[in-house]
Symmetry: D2
Subunit: 97 residues, 4 copies
């Protein structure tokens, strides 16, 4: 499984982007994949083709109403692991305790 | 105020990096700045010089025991705003409701 | 068309990653898409599905021999534009002259 | 020495950002550090405090005329190495030949 953190932002659409982010989160919600929203992006867990499809859907959605769309994405694949949206944080917290 | 999301990873230190992340989170904890840990990085809020100092401290710390250290950082400055680790997420959630 | 800058790095594979980068650049070369290698990543221009397929191919290739593979990717879509690997740089340089 | 790739973009400043990028490149030029401009960012080589000062200067410059400024930055420190804007590319090209 792969963790994807993405943030998709249209340029030329003003200073506030929360409406656009909300539209992308709604698309992620529809995918049924586990996700977590944070202040700098949205983290999604799925198979590689599933998370790349999320990037595809979010960019195509915003490109319908904006002429320029940027995306920053970080992917983290680890063999045989899942449930990492929670497990990676727990693993760090245990070492801080 | 500025939001920083950073992830600092040594190369050549094996597949698991949670110990190194924990050491960086401890440094962030010492700074007294508000922060939130997630599966793909740590989000910190502070003045620009404060958040750049976090990058500096974390990279120098890991460089003491690793010959190669990489960092990915995203910064988001917005005039007159603070408390955005929570507010940015709330602003999106309101639009999803 | 979309510009993609990607950098794909296995964790647990030692300090030097140039061999892995070279294998990914060879895959990009095979795609026939226009690309430019730089010190921090490789920039590729193509349609959205073409550049996402590059991320897919590079991550699957490195995942054959590494249990953990990370990728950082930035995408920049702009309606009606192409040849931007060169044009974006020229547009900045004109403003510096 | 550290390689930094940065891209600093104001939000709410329209679709084209090349003018803002040019202003940041002029600041980098003034620093005297070695740099290379590409279609997705600017790569600079310097000591850690020097490259962090570049991020500081570019963000403060754009924040004078824009209420929201975002920055994405990747840093790559490697002990005992310099001249890596060229050397990292050559090292990959050798393995492709």
């Amino acid at each position: 499984m792969v963790l994807l953190e993405l943030s998709v932002v249209p340029l030329g659409a003003g200073e506030s982007v929360s409406q656009h982010v909300a539209e992308c989160v709604a698309l992620i919600e529809q995918s049924g994949l586990e996700y977590e929203l944070n202040a700098m992006g949205t983290i999604v867990e799925g198979e590689l083709d599933q998370v790349l499809a999320i990037i595809d859907r979010c960019m195509r959605h915003l490109a319908k109403s904006h002429d320029r769309v940027t995306c920053s994405a970080k992917l983290d694949y680890r063999k045989g692991r899942s449930g990492r949206i929670r497990a990676k944080v727990d693993s760090v917290r245990e070492k801080l305790a």
